[in-house]
């Protein structure tokens, strides 16, 4: 049910994101989802990749601070109110979202969620017949 997400700590300086992309490209690793959270002097890149363990290893070798975290990747319909319904179900059971990112393509949308209680979130989502990716 869960998906391994790679997170990379980045100093806020020009070209740092390129460096990560380059290392992954050279290792033949594909990125399927991607988000950057930042404050004024640093950022955290969160990314889903084709081979998380290998990605972690190659980035570590290049000196990056890398972590693997379990997240939930969901496939939902790309229509008004779908996301609201899901979040509402989670909120009703007091599961809150540490962070999330989403993107849509045609009829479908993908949502990556890091809930505070991942097991409980899975239960709720399964009960509501939400489709998991990966």
């Amino acid at each position: 049910m869960t998906t391994l997400q790679l997170s990379v700590f980045l100093e806020n300086k020009t070209g740092r994101l390129n460096d990560v992309a380059k290392v992954l490209a050279e290792a033949g690793i594909n990125m399927t989802a991607f988000s950057v959270a930042d404050n004024s002097d640093f950022g955290i890149l969160r990314v889903l990749v084709s081979d998380p363990e290998k990605a972690k290893q190659v980035l570590k070798e290049k000196g990056f601070a890398v972590k693997l975290t379990n997240v939930l990747a969901l496939r939902i319909g790309n229509s008004a109110g779908t996301l609201y319904t899901i979040l509402d179900k989670l909120a009703a059971e007091k599961v809150y979202i540490e962070y999330m990112y989403a993107f849509s393509e045609g009829e479908q949308a993908s949502v990556v969620i890091r809930p505070n209680n991942i097991d409980q979130a899975i239960e709720i989502l399964k009960a509501n017949k939400i489709e998991f990716v990966g």
């Binding site: 100093e11 959270a37 404050n39 640093f42 955290i44 000196g63 990056f64 601070a65 972590k67």
Partner: protein
């Protein structure tokens, strides 16, 4: 044990008398034998006749590190070259090294000072001392060597490096004491642990100096090696290791003040500060013949304590050096030393002890940025987690320094690793 109780436990009045006599002699010596000193005293309008007691020392001009470079190599000798029997030199971070010449008596007095140090660490004839300071121009090796022989210990002159051989000798000869830099001691400790030899050693005492080290590091060395770690203080210009030493109470560094007279001055004005004040440490070599230095400015900042120590010695003690006057930053009116930042970083588990301070002035207010590395295992994937670390460190620094810094988090291993003399601060206000 006290090596020379008649001097080390001398009452203050007798000590002042001894220092006064010796100061008179050394001033006469430099005035009559060393051109640069005579000139400078003439410029200051002072002659040897004006020096009647140790208090008159304030009339004398200072000597700086720059003087040693300007008169390189033999310009500051106060003895004929025929009397010089040894040379030591310090590497010097800029350009030429600093060269010091010793007469036979200078070496004897240095050995005497070193013997006092080792005795204070509880060492004597019965001990086997491994000297892992570098032998050569550096004063560490030969300085410690002379001290060991003076107290009659078995001396292992192994010099620095070659860790495998260090461990072999230490084990086979059952060395009871190790003399080296504290950072090498840590390295050795780790190597011993890996080799499995650690429990077969007989080490009891560490004689550590030649670089600044924190209390944290002392504890780490003591635990890892199962020894008592003592600080030995010295500087090449003044003679080398043995200028001062800790005693069993470990409450400051006793200075061999009958040989090396310490003063504390205001680094800005050069004025002598009252007893107990923090300021720049200045030394006058009272007995040296080869290259006596009058009021040598060390740039080290500390405080002198004149109370009698519980160990029985009356000799003045100096507190741990707080930093160098060259390094001190005044930020929003508060004195800040990079060494304070380092000490805090050593205490806070989540951070590496590597940092860089940047001070600037924006809208007429000083900015105070410290860039630090988080230990790899403490990086999180949440902004809030990282911000929490920033706040924790900022609060800890605020309580120690009295000023809230802006903490900038760096990527792992992105900061320059210190080799002891790394640049750790940039004051951009000076560039404006």
């Amino acid at each position: 044990m006290i090596w020379n109780p008649s001097v080390e436990c001398m009452d203050r009045e007798s000590m002042r008398k001894l220092q006064s006599e010796r100061l008179r002699k050394v001033v006469e010596r430099v005035y009559n034998n060393c051109e640069p000193y005579r000139k400078r005293m003439e410029e200051a309008g002072v002659t040897p006749e004006d020096i009647n007691s140790i208090d008159d020392i304030v009339k004398l001009p200072f000597t700086s590190k720059k003087d040693l470079r300007d008169y390189y190599p033999f310009g500051l000798l106060s003895a004929p070259k025929e009397e010089i029997i040894r040379i030591h030199a310090s590497s010097g971070t800029t350009g030429k090294p600093i060269v010091v010449g010793y007469t036979k008596n200078d070496i004897a007095n240095w050995n005497e000072a070193g013997a006092r140090c080792l005795s204070a660490f509880g060492l004597g004839k019965q001990d086997v001392i491994q000297v892992a300071y570098g032998y050569g121009l550096f004063t560490g090796g030969l300085g410690a060597h002379g001290a060991c022989e003076t107290i009659g210990a078995i001396t292992i002159p192994i010099s620095a490096g070659n860790t495998e051989k260090q461990m072999l000798m230490m084990h086979d000869l059952q060395a009871t004491a190790l003399a080296c830099t504290p950072s090498y001691a840590l390295y050795l400790a780790e190597s011993l642990e890996k080799s499995g030899l650690k429990d077969k050693m007989n080490l009891k005492v560490g004689i550590f100096g030649a670089e600044p080290w924190t209390e944290q590091m002392r504890k780490e060395i003591e635990t890892k090696l199962g020894i008592k770690a003592y600080d030995i203080y010295g500087l090449t210009e003044i003679s080398g290791p043995g200028v001062g030493h800790e005693c069993e109470c470990q409450c400051g560094t006793h200075i061999c003040e009958d040989l090396f007279f310490p003063e504390i001055i205001d680094p800005e004005t050069g004025e002598r500060l009252p007893d107990g004040s923090v300021g720049e440490l200045v030394f006058t070599t009272l007995t040296k013949e080869g290259m006596p230095l009058i009021r040598f400015r060390t740039r080290d900042l500390t405080r002198l304590i004149y109370d009698k120590c519980e160990c029985g010695r009356t000799s003045v003690r100096m507190e741990k050096i707080m930093g160098r006057s060259d390094d001190m930053l005044i930020i929003r009116g508060v004195n800040v030393f990079p060494s304070q930042v380092e000490a805090v970083l050593c205490e806070v588990e989540e951070f590496e002890p590597h940092f860089f301070i940047t001070v600037d002035r924006v809208n007429n207010t000083d900015t105070f940025d410290i860039k630090v590395e988080v230990k790899e295992q403490y990086y999180t994937d949440e902004i809030s987690g990282m911000v929490k670390l920033q706040k924790k460190l900022a609060a800890r620094l605020q309580s120690v320094i009295g000023l809230q810094p802006n903490i900038i988090l760096a990527e792992p291993r992105s900061m320059e690793r210190s080799q002891g003399k790394a640049k750790r601060a940039l004051d951009k206000r000076k560039l404006q």
